[in-house]
């Protein structure tokens, strides 16, 4: 029984670490994308494509982090992790929306896309 409990705890910790790692990666790439996006020139298609690509990477990290099943993680750590999950989900929606908008702007300004960044 003790062995099983140890295993469960290890699994919980693994899940929390995994979530934290995906958070970290998503934060890293999205905050760098935002830094560019915040002073982006509407007509600079190339820059927007880079930002779109960075957001896409961030979205992948958020999705992976959100996909971690934390329902079995108990205690305060579990509560905190689930709150973080909600925040990551909220940001996922916002980054997707922002990516759509940039993509839309690029379509308006016209693009000769030889590098397929955004699918």
């Amino acid at each position: 029984i003790m062995d099983n409990r140890d295993n469960d705890e290890n699994t919980d910790i693994d899940l929390l670490i995994k979530q934290r790692q995906h958070h970290k990666k998503s934060f890293d790439i999205i905050s760098r994308a935002l830094k560019i996006d915040e002073k982006i020139d509407d007509q600079n298609i190339e820059q927007k494509r880079i930002v779109i690509e960075m957001y896409s990477k961030g979205i992948e990290e958020l999705e992976e982090g959100i996909g971690i099943d934390l329902s079995g993680v108990t205690g305060e750590e579990g509560e905190r992790a689930r709150k973080l999950q909600l925040k990551m989900n909220n940001n996922l929606l916002m980054v997707r929306e922002r990516r759509e908008r940039l993509d839309c702007m690029n379509r308006i300004y016209g693009q000769s896309s030889h590098l397929p960044f955004y699918k």
Partner: protein, 62 residues
């Protein structure tokens, strides 16, 4: 059928760096040393996600 071609990761990274250089932007592809081994606390993570939310919300209003 889809004709999407996926650019290799390093190609994307170097292109991102190139465009950033041209635009005079600091991209900083590497995580600062010392941060790679640690995943930080849940509270710090929460604060960081809050920071992203705020900045994304600001862009939405522009």
């Amino acid at each position: 059928s889809t004709t999407t071609i996926t650019a290799p990761e390093n190609q994307v990274d170097s292109l991102m760096q190139q465009v950033a250089d041209e635009a005079g932007l600091e991209l900083n592809m590497e995580l600062p040393a010392g941060e790679t081994g640690s995943v930080g606390t849940a509270t710090a993570a929460s604060t960081e996600q809050d920071d992203l939310s705020k900045r994304l919300a600001q862009l939405r209003q522009m």
